[in-house]
């Protein structure tokens, strides 16, 4: 994600366990897809952390100080890549239902219409 050209995701922490079976997918992801992901996103700081005895997760830190944690236990490497891409494509904003699909600060160019307007 980028706001006005500035990438919003600053850091991605890949936390896994080298013993547990729920980390199998993320371990395979780290061998196969993580280097390519790193190269694709040079602006992103990707860290790998060993966290023994815990389920694996991806943690994304955004510029608005927001943290998004996605648990990837028992997830295939392709799905882990998809999660990582989703974190990278997203802004750090809170996921709320959209009020409108068109956000603007200047709603009218030629003047707002009213019943008294004479053309």
């Amino acid at each position: 994600m980028s706001l006005r050209g500035v990438w919003q995701l600053q850091k991605l922490i890949v936390s896994f366990c080298n013993w547990g079976g729920s980390s199998r997918g993320i371990r395979a992801f780290m061998e196969s897809d993580l280097p390519a992901f790193r190269e694709k996103n040079p602006q992103l700081e990707v860290l790998t952390e060993l966290n023994r005895g815990y389920h694996p997760f991806l943690k994304g830190l955004y510029k608005n100080k927001n943290e998004r944690v996605v648990c990837v236990k028992n997830v295939t490497p392709e799905d882990v890549l998809q999660c990582a891409n989703r974190l990278r494509n997203a802004q750090g904003r809170k996921v709320v239902k959209l009020k409108t699909r068109h956000v603007t600060k200047n709603p009218s160019v030629q003047g707002t219409w009213s019943t008294e307007l004479k053309m």
């Binding site: 994600m1 980028s2 706001l3 006005r4 050209g5 990438w7 989703r86 990278r88 494509n89 997203a90 802004q91 996921v95 709320v96 239902k97 959209l98 699909r101 068109h102 956000v103 603007t104 600060k105 200047n106 709603p107 009218s108 160019v109 030629q110 003047g111 707002t112 009213s114 307007l117 004479k118």
Partner: protein, 265 residues
């Protein structure tokens, strides 16, 4: 009917065994017709279990030429899938849609993007001064089936645009109307020379919507969650209209035309 069932179970069992035993190498490739042929020609089934032997014996007795319905239906499915996907491809219909999009050539992707989303992908941004201050120009643009009245610096949420990445420049070429302080241009239905430039800001999922269905006293209850995939575009430039020159003369123009001053809604 029972004979056909036996035959189908036999063939299914045979197929499952094929993968396990080395006997599979001597058999022809999996098709009910081929299996049927093998059954009729090779009566020696000593490798299999006794139960299976009986089944085989039964099917061998009733050597009917069964219509290869499964294979026929498979062919039909493939045809339908092929029709749904791009006609130029001869891929199997079993491939998922993701594989299909990966196998499209660049030209096909552009064509798809142009037809479906009315977007043309430009190069990625690299220190371009794309984000200009506000200009009082609007355009009515269509993306997919949705239309937006758009101005410089606006944000639009559309359905997920497939062939573009974050920080990509897009040109939206289906422009239906342009307007500014001095000029209004109406397309019939599209303006051919107009273009609206946008930048992809985000590909994200919407908030989860829970779809709950219930019919009372009928023991029917369904609960599904759904997250729509959206793309956030920021409009940077509108081309094809006369624009007022700069901000300061714009203020003078506003003073000259008090009746047309924008009233905040």
């Amino acid at each position: 009917m029972a004979n056909r069932r036996c035959f189908q179970t036999a063939t299914r069992y045979l197929q499952s065994i094929k993968s396990l035993t080395a006997f599979s190498q001597s058999l022809p490739p999996t098709s009910t017709h081929a299996l049927h042929q093998s059954l009729t020609t090779k009566p020696s089934y000593h490798i299999y279990d006794n139960n299976f032997n009986n089944l085989y014996a039964q099917s061998a007795r009733f050597t009917r030429h069964f219509s290869s319905r499964p294979t026929d239906s498979e062919d039909d499915d493939d045809d339908d899938d092929e029709e749904d996907y791009e006609s130029g491809e001869e891929e199997e219909g079993e491939l998922g849609s993701e594989d299909e999009s990966a196998n499209l050539s660049a030209e096909d992707k552009e064509k798809d993007a142009a037809e479906i989303g009315y977007t043309v992908i430009g190069p990625l941004q690299k220190s371009d001064r794309v984000f200009k201050p506000y200009e009082p120009v609007f355009a009515v643009v269509q993306i997919g089936s949705h239309q937006f009245k758009v101005s410089n610096g606006d944000t639009i949420y559309t359905e997920r645009l497939k062939y573009c990445d974050v920080n990509d420049k897009l040109v939206l070429n289906k422009v239906l109307m342009l307007g500014s302080q001095t000029q209004t241009v109406i397309g019939r239905p599209v303006l051919p020379d107009a273009s609206v430039h946008a930048v992809v800001e985000e590909h994200a999922l919407d908030a989860k919507v829970i779809i709950f269905k219930k019919k009372r006293r009928k023991n029917y209850r369904r609960k599904n969650g759904h997250r729509q995939e959206l793309t956030k575009l920021r409009i940077t430039d509108i081309q094809g209209v006369e624009k007022p020159e700069k901000i300061t003369p714009l203020k003078k123009e506003k003073k000259e035309n008090p009746g047309k001053v924008a009233v905040g809604a």
